[in-house]
């Protein structure tokens, strides 16, 4: 690899070294000096249209935009002199002149760059005495996306994103001067699997998502990173949830999932399919242990697990290989899979270890892969050879069946599954979501989804990514890791808890 040439410059009296080709805005950021900006986004070429990042560069007669100025050896940059601060204030005043002051009802309030910058660099009395332009405030521009043209500051990030990242180019700028506005061509909607990123990159509340609109305020949200579990790409995502917020029955916990940054995997973007994973966390969840014999009774998962252990123990050791079966899945973390391997394959010497995963979908040529599970490589690395069970064979010989996840139904009809399970005396379901399998199981355990767990996934390129818990699980919800650990302890098996990797 050729060595990156470094350039030395001075920003606000500080000596800064930046790679050749870096712009002044980035170089300053690396040195911890933030220069306010709207239109600049590191994923695109500088456009220089917002004029907020104007700085003083020694030797130049005028202020110049930091986003479009490339660092030079010996360059002297000043980012907070009186003329720079004056220019910033003026740009904010221009933008706010035509911007509606509807922050109290704007979704972006609290995370709006215009609001933040006014607070930090503006704070001027309003001088605009004229009539503001009236524009359309609620235009549907595609899947769940609404455009408010009064709030738009014409930074054109959205236009450039659709031209340069998705290559679909659904948005353009029409008209000119103060009448200029963003819009779709002949009302053809934005239609690609990456349209949700438009909401993330809009610096103001001009593009909003109907899934989030008017649902909560940004400042209530706790933002934690994790890895998207919806395909094997392993994109960085941010889960935004509320905790300690008075929740009504059925109210949301997770309000949205946004793109996280990971230059090695997804850059700044995630697909709409991954973003819609919000629903997996909040909707259709299994909330408590349900025993079919007494569905109304409150039962802790620890107590219920004692029943599972008793059934396994009731099968004599030498017969377990044939009579006890488990069905796992590739959404389990690398740590859980190791534990499962030691418990089921090595500890209990089971032969019948199967996998049931969602069926592959179509890859979209950008981030979304065919595999709709995050850890297929983790399954292989844990030493499993994943295969689907033969339902007839299961029905013929198995006495105790542990099913993790509900994806048998992706491969077999509900009727076929229920016919097979009917012949198995003891069957236990561990699932995050409610579904048709519930009524077939003796006990259903409510599992955590991946956002509620910590662990490691290995993505399609073999990249190992560890993540922490991004959302608090509801009380009573349990991870596979805890279930497997308890089973091992209860069955007297040493699975090396401290060496699960």
């Amino acid at each position: 690899m050729s060595e990156v040439k470094m350039v030395g410059l001075t920003i606000d009296g500080r000596t800064v070294r930046a790679a050749e080709g870096t712009n002044v805005l980035q170089a300053a950021e690396q040195a911890g000096i933030s220069i306010p900006h709207f239109c600049y986004h590191p994923a695109f070429e500088a456009e220089g249209n917002c004029r907020l990042c104007l700085v003083e560069i020694e030797g130049l007669p005028k202020l110049d935009s930091a986003c479009s100025t490339v660092v030079r050896e010996g360059m002297i940059v000043r980012t907070s002199t009186a003329p720079v601060l004056e220019a910033r204030k003026d740009v904010l005043e221009f933008l706010l002149a035509e911007h509606p002051l509807d922050c109290p009802i704007c979704d972006k309030a609290g995370e709006c760059k215009l609001q933040d910058y006014y607070d930090r660099h503006g704070l001027f009395p309003g001088w605009f005495l004229e009539a503001k332009e009236k524009r359309q405030k609620k235009i549907s521009i595609g899947k769940g996306l609404l455009l408010d043209r009064e709030r738009c500051i014409l930074c054109t990030r959205c236009v450039r994103y659709l031209r340069k990242v998705t290559g679909t180019g659904e948005l353009g700028v029409f008209e000119r001067g103060v009448r200029a506005e963003v819009g779709t061509y002949d009302d053809a909607p934005i239609d690609n699997n990456y349209s949700g990123n438009l909401v993330d990159i809009c610096p103001v509340g001009a593009i909003t998502d109907t899934d989030f609109r008017f649902k909560t305020r940004a400042w209530f949200l706790e933002k934690r990173p994790t890895v998207c579990p919806r395909c094997s790409r392993g994109c960085a995502v941010i889960v935004e949830s509320v905790s300690g917020y008075p929740l009504e029955e059925g109210e949301r916990r997770v309000f949205r999932i946004r793109a996280g940054e990971n230059p090695a995997v997804n850059g700044y973007w995630i697909c709409d399919f991954g973003r819609a994973g919000r629903r997996d966390i909040d909707e259709g969840r299994q909330e408590r242990v349900i025993k079919s014999a007494s569905p109304e009774s409150e039962l802790s998962w620890q107590k219920a697990l004692a029943d599972v252990m008793a059934r396994i123990r009731s099968v004599p050791g030498p017969e377990r290989a044939a009579k006890v079966a488990v069905i796992l899945n590739s959404r389990m973390t690398r740590e859980e899979l190791t534990l499962a391997k030691r418990l089921f394959a090595e500890g209990l010497s089971l032969d019948k270890i199967f996998f049931a995963d969602p069926k592959p979908g179509a890859a979209d040529g950008f981030l979304l892969t065919e595999e709709r599970v995050p850890n297929a490589r983790g399954v292989l690395q844990a030493g499993f050879s994943p295969r689907l069970p033969d339902l007839d064979a299961l029905a013929a010989s198995v006495e105790v069946l542990l099913v993790f996840g509900s994806h048998l139904l992706d491969h077999f009809s509900e009727e076929a599954v229920s016919r097979a399970l009917a012949k198995i005396p003891s069957k236990f379901l561990f699932s995050a979501h409610t579904g048709p399998l519930d009524r077939l199981a003796e006990i259903v355990f409510p599992l955590a989804v991946s956002a509620e767990k910590s662990g490691t996934y290995i993505n399609i390129d073999g990249l190992r990514q560890s993540f922490g818990r991004a959302a608090e699980p509801a009380p009573g919800v349990v991870s596979e890791h805890e279930i497997l650990g308890c089973l091992a302890a209860g069955l007297g098996l040493n699975v090396g808890e401290h060496d699960v990797r």
Binding site: G48, N49, K62, G177, R179
Partner: protein
Amino acid sequence: MSEDAVRLIPADEGSWRLEAYLRRGGYEAARKAVMSMAPADVITEVRKAGLRGRGGAGFPAGLKWSFVPQGGAGPKYLCVNADEGEPGTFKDRAILVRNPHQLIEGMTIAAFGVGIRKAFIYVRGEYGRIAGRLREAIAEAEDEGFLGGGIFGSGFDLEVIVHLGAGAYICGEETALLESIEGRRGQPRLKPPFPAVVGLFRAPTAINNVETLANVPLIIGRGADWFLGRGLPKDGGTRLFGVSGAVRRPGLYELPMGTQLRTIIEIHAGGPPEGVAIKAVIPGGLSAPALRPDELDVTMDFDALARAGSMLGSAGIIVIGDKIPILDVLKVMARFYAHESCGQCTPCRIGTSWIHKTVMRIGEGQGRASDLDHILRLADGMKGRTLCPMGDAAALPVQALVTKFRDELEKAVAR
């Protein structure tokens, strides 16, 4: 040789025809350049002649050409800026109508000097009918082997394409012009890179105004010294001064660079009509800050007008008589820039519109005492802060009117 031979706007019968142009000695300079000069010598000669850009900025043309990388296998382009949109300006139109071959000959020489084989003439949409005459002239020149493949039997080719704009002032800004030719929304690009390095279709590109290129055959045909002798040292040649407004003989006057503004108005254009006194003069197209009657003893050249706080710009002289309220001038000015701002960058998009709204409110009798100061502050917010020169073009003339005619405007505000 007739006087017409050295005039940009000849008066002979059918002056736009090739035969008339040949009678005036046309295409001899191009022949001389292509057949007997080295390309680098063409550029040197034009630099020596002190030919400054006639579009408005006054950048030395030869120097501009010298920034285009020499040699190289990739394409390079010449773009002719015929998007004459500056209010008060009608000189390029006259060249296109009366002397299109001199432009074509100038283009041939420029292209030969810079090593270009393809040129575009960007004609403003409003000049659609003129473009027909231009196309005829191109066809005539091609038929005679003055344009196209193997010019004058040499190995030098030049293809010329006429491209019609759609009526946007901003497309006269050179990088917006490039965007427009490329088929995109006409709005300026960030500089650097400059078009000489990254221009049309990302290739090195020379961009020159019509009048600038029409002067080139005179320089190559008669020499840099002759050309300098017709103007000022470092600012050679004549200039087409368009005079409009409160004068007896509005029109286009080709005079040496450095002619006194007062001479042009009083002598050539006949001064203001009976009973009218001059209130203000805009010396170089609407964007040039206005001068008061006591400021007219200035020579019309780039440096002298810059020293006077204005600019030569496109040399379109607008004479404003004392019957015209300055507020009316301000209204027309503010409306024009608000209408023509491309909307790309914040200070110009909002600043032009804000000034326009304020001026219109004053016009409706709703002025406030603070309005004039506020207009000056808005102009300050635009000056030097925009992506392209249009911010200055819109802010400076407004600021000049408000500053120099403050008393009259204050009465209008208080009305």
